[in-house]
């Protein structure tokens, strides 16, 4: 219970579902005959429809980026730190559109939806979608919402990759691409972590080759393990240390209840969770496994692995950027080791090579990849200053 909704929140929001009948040809060549996209919007669209911002979510995100669905919600949307009245993405100035991507499990058509052809769950038969497919579906949503041009497309991590894809695929339909903690493509190490996550899901006996919903079950253990691995890559060593860094000596001395053995308060000398980081990962994994579809997780990690806009340009990303006409704003975080600053600098260099207009800010932050979700003052400062400038551009006067 939040008791009362904070004044800097967009408040209570209700998602809307848009149905699309026009078949969508996917990058794989497969065709999705029809689909739903579930959407939330915050802030008012202005008269000339020039103040719309698209928010693109990352691996486990969805359309619920800000505000609350009910007064009983424990937590606001996933990017509430950055979206709201007076926040970096200021809903007093902008009309913000946030959707659940195709293949998701929060209401848009995905593996956990019913396939109208078979009247059964799509399950593993849901086609693999890529970042490009998402952006194509987002462009159709844009048409549906009668938005001619985005003031900005904004995203972190996998969301930042969608912003880049927008700039490449629809150069005339956005003014700014804001790409936070992203990368031009995944490294072998990134893909390796994704593969561990996928393998843990597919090797769970309850996975049933992806048909677990038909079987009335789900691969809880596999999904938990996938999330635990993922979570390690989201945090920095320092962030983990400061959050959970109790040593064996400290636990013994304090005799508190870190270990499972609450009677003695001592180390269990078994294989239960002695350290706080263990119970933290278990908790995160468990909570996630109850709320997320395993097939969607497989699909989202694949979309990440396949992301590489240079593929159509002989591996030269700068060529992919050549036709872009928007301005770019990139941000990275010092301790992010999933998509570290060097990866953002690769993007910067390819944008420079393509002679694009860009700004780049490297933020000192302890939190690792997760930093993009947090209210870190310098990050929020640069983010809001940039968007205020975007707003003054579209309205022709200072905000």
């Amino acid at each position: 219970m939040t008791n009362s909704i904070p004044t800097d929140s967009v408040g209570l929001v209700t998602p809307q579902t848009h149905h699309f009948d026009k078949p969508l040809t996917l990058r794989s060549g497969k065709i999705l005959p029809s689909y739903d996209l579930v959407v939330e919007t915050y802030g008012k669209l202005n008269a000339d429809k020039s103040n719309a911002i698209l928010i693109c979510h990352a691996l486990s995100g969805d359309h619920h980026a800000a505000g609350f669905h009910s007064v009983d919600d424990q937590k606001p949307g996933w990017w509430d730190a950055c979206i709201g009245p007076g926040k970096a993405v200021d809903t007093n100035l902008f009309h913000v559109v946030s959707l659940n991507n195709l293949g998701g499990c929060a209401g848009s058509t995905g593996p956990a939806s019913i396939n109208p052809k078979t009247s059964k769950y799509y399950g593993p038969d849901f086609p693999v979608v890529t970042v490009r497919d998402w952006v194509n579906s987002q462009a159709r949503l844009m048409d549906r919402l009668e938005i001619p041009k985005w003031a900005a497309v904004v995203g972190g991590s996998l969301g930042g990759m969608q912003a880049l894809r927008w700039a490449i695929s629809y150069p005339e339909r956005l003014n700014h691409a804001i790409c936070i903690a992203a990368a031009p493509k995944l490294s072998a190490q990134n893909i390796a972590f994704n593969e561990v996550a996928r393998h843990s899901i597919t090797s769970d006996p309850n996975f049933h080759r992806g048909h677990y919903l038909e079987e009335g079950t789900y691969p809880k253990q596999g999904l938990m393990l996938a999330r635990m691995v993922g979570h390690i890559t989201y945090l920095s060593d320092n962030a983990m240390r400061s959050k959970f860094g109790k040593s064996v000596a400290e636990i013994e001395e304090e005799g508190n209840n870190f270990g499972r053995d609450l009677r003695t308060g001592k180390l269990s000398f078994g294989f239960n969770a002695d350290f706080q980081v263990e119970s933290y990962l278990h908790y995160q994994g468990e909570r996630f496994s109850e709320n997320f579809d395993a097939n969607t997780y497989l699909l989202m990690t694949k979309a990440l692995d396949y992301f590489d806009p240079s593929v159509d340009y002989e591996g030269d990303l700068s060529k992919a950027f050549e036709n872009c006409s928007c301005k770019f704003m990139l941000m990275s975080f010092s301790t992010d080791w999933r998509f570290p600053p060097e990866r953002s600098r690769e993007l910067v260099n390819d944008l420079l090579k393509a002679r694009k207009q860009l700004s780049y800010v490297e933020i000192e932050a302890d939190a690792g990849h997760d930093a993009f979700l947090l209210p870190i003052p310098r990050y929020i400062g640069a983010f809001s200053t940039y968007l205020k400038k975007v707003y003054s551009e579209i309205t022709g006067h200072a905000s």
């Binding site: 420079l352 090579k353 002679r355 207009q357 700004s359 800010v361 640069a382 551009e393």
Partner: protein, 197 residues
């Protein structure tokens, strides 16, 4: 208009591409953008300055000049600016090579340590000069590579750099005929327009 800016803007072609190394709060680029419609990028490392650039609508990249410009293509800019930053670099000579690789011409401004005030301060007090214009003590100064007009001239000869124009102004950015006559003695800020030979 500030006389040094007046001088610099004369050397910038309209609609050209300008890279400013250590662009500060972006005011020079903002001025050139307004006056000459340049296509600008600034490099800066100070957080507040970066924020001011963004506020001014100036393209700014957080980048440490001591790491060089290897991420910039050769001849990708018309003019590369290095204003009042030379003396704070670890390897000023290498950065000058790099700026003339990236740009077809360069503009360098720096405080002239050969100025009579510095000479007088050092010779009379026997201590490193401290002034309103250069307020730091020797141990906390960001300015680690001071040079004089004559030093810079010598570097240009050594590196076979072509000096297209050279002038000096005082710390109030005002010029005069006597300063131009004895630049290394009277000039407080040196302004060079250079290019590769």
């Amino acid at each position: 208009m500030r006389p040094d800016l007046e001088i610099i803007q004369e050397w910038i072609k309209p609609n050209s591409r300008v890279l400013d190394l250590g662009c500060g709060d972006g005011s020079l680029l903002h001025f050139l953008k307004t006056a000459k419609n340049v296509n600008e990028i600034g490099l800066e490392i100070d957080n507040e300055n970066i924020n001011s650039c963004i506020e001014n609508g100036i393209n700014v990249i957080e980048q440490n000049l001591d790491h060089g410009l290897s991420n910039f293509q050769s001849n990708s800019f018309d003019t590369v600016l290095l204003a009042q930053t030379l003396q704070a670099l670890s390897n000023p000579d290498r950065l000058i090579d790099d700026m003339l690789r990236v740009g077809t011409n360069g503009i360098v401004t720096f405080p002239n340590f050969g100025n009579w005030k510095s000479r007088f301060y050092l010779s009379s007090k026997g201590r490193m000069p401290v002034s309103k214009f250069m307020p730091h003590q020797w141990y906390d100064t960001p300015n680690i590579h001071f040079c004089t007009v004559n030093d810079f001239d010598a570097l240009c000869v050594e590196k076979e750099i072509n000096i297209l124009a050279r002038t000096v102004v005082d710390s109030q950015h005002q010029g005069s005929w006597y300063m131009r006559a004895w630049p290394n003695f009277l000039g407080e800020i040196a302004i060079y327009h250079i290019t590769k030979k």
